[in-house]
């Protein structure tokens, strides 16, 4: 297996995640796209760990998974708060801090 095939796969998944973050208006969908991005980063880290035969990349992937779990918890709490205050989770409607 080439190293590049994993790296390019993770680049493609990363770009799809960025597209999702930029185009979706639903708050939960944006969080799911962020999960996609973090996951592609994990593939990259583990691929480089296999390439260098060093285990620290895998340990770092574990840390990324833990941070992603924390991020989803806080993010979904914020979406719920948004829903309670505005009765929808349309991110295009949140502009009260717009200058």
């Amino acid at each position: 297996m080439l190293l590049n095939q994993f790296l390019i796969l993770s680049a493609v998944l990363f770009a799809i995640g960025v597209y999702g973050v930029l185009t979706r208006r639903n708050g939960v969908m944006v969080l799911m796209s962020i999960e996609l991005i973090l996951n592609s980063v994990n593939i990259n880290l583990v691929a480089f760990a296999a390439f260098r035969e060093a285990i620290s990349g895998e340990v770092f992937a574990l840390f990324v998974i833990a941070v992603a779990a924390a991020e989803v918890g806080v993010g979904l709490a914020m979406v719920l708060l948004l829903y309670r205050n505005r009765r929808n989770i349309d991110l295009a409607g949140i502009d009260s801090m717009k200058g």
């Binding site: 995640g17 799911m32 996609l36 996951n39 296999a50 285990i55 895998e58 941070v67 779990a69 989803v72």
Partner: protein, 184 residues
């Protein structure tokens, strides 16, 4: 039926080195294709529950990739944490905010062409850099990494990040409870 299947497997010769490589590449191509298609469907589908299920496919595919790369512990953690916990959290989030977004209301922003441009740019620039740097570099791992090695690493070299992560998880736990609770 099942015993016949096992008899078939036991009758097979173990794979040679080059055959293993071919099998790995075939599985890589299959999983990568499924992952990319599911990710595209995830960011474009109107139905958000379907999007969560497509995300499950992508995450399971990533676990397959980790197994291909010889990182079994990461693959199991991926399935436990992502598919077991985070997807359930997402489904709860979708359930609790349901009805706030009609499908015909138009999920997508007008900036979709700009987003396509950004995504294509990211893919071309990063892939170009990867192809330029690691042209035909082979992955040469002989043995998969063991869980014991990872545990040793976490509790020796990475002990301070590990403690920081545990404090971060505690902070996120308390923070999300404070943000989401009803009364002040």
């Amino acid at each position: 039926m099942i015993s016949l299947f096992f008899a078939q497997i036991q009758g097979l010769d173990p794979l040679e080195g080059s055959e293993v490589l071919v099998a790995q590449n075939v599985f890589f191509a299959l999983i990568a294709l499924v992952m990319v298609l599911a990710a595209l469907k995830m960011v474009t589908t109107e139905n958000i529950v379907h999007a969560a299920l497509y995300l499950v496919i992508v995450l399971a595919g990533a676990a397959g990739m980790f197994i291909l790369l010889g990182a079994e512990f990461i693959a199991v953690t991926q399935i436990l944490v992502y598919i077991g916990a985070i997807i359930v959290l997402f489904l709860f989030g979708i359930m609790l905010t349901k009805g706030s977004f009609g499908a015909e209301e138009g999920e997508f922003r007008e900036r979709s062409q700009m987003a396509v441009l950004v995504a294509v740019l990211i893919v071309t620039v990063t892939s170009g850099a990867f192809i330029d740097s690691f042209r035909n570099t082979e992955l040469s791992r002989e043995m998969p990494s063991t869980t014991a090695e990872i545990g040793d690493m976490i509790f020796s070299q990475f002990i301070i990040p590990f403690e920081a992560i545990s404090v971060l998880l505690l902070a996120a736990l308390i923070g999300s409870v404070v943000i989401a609770r009803r009364d002040q």
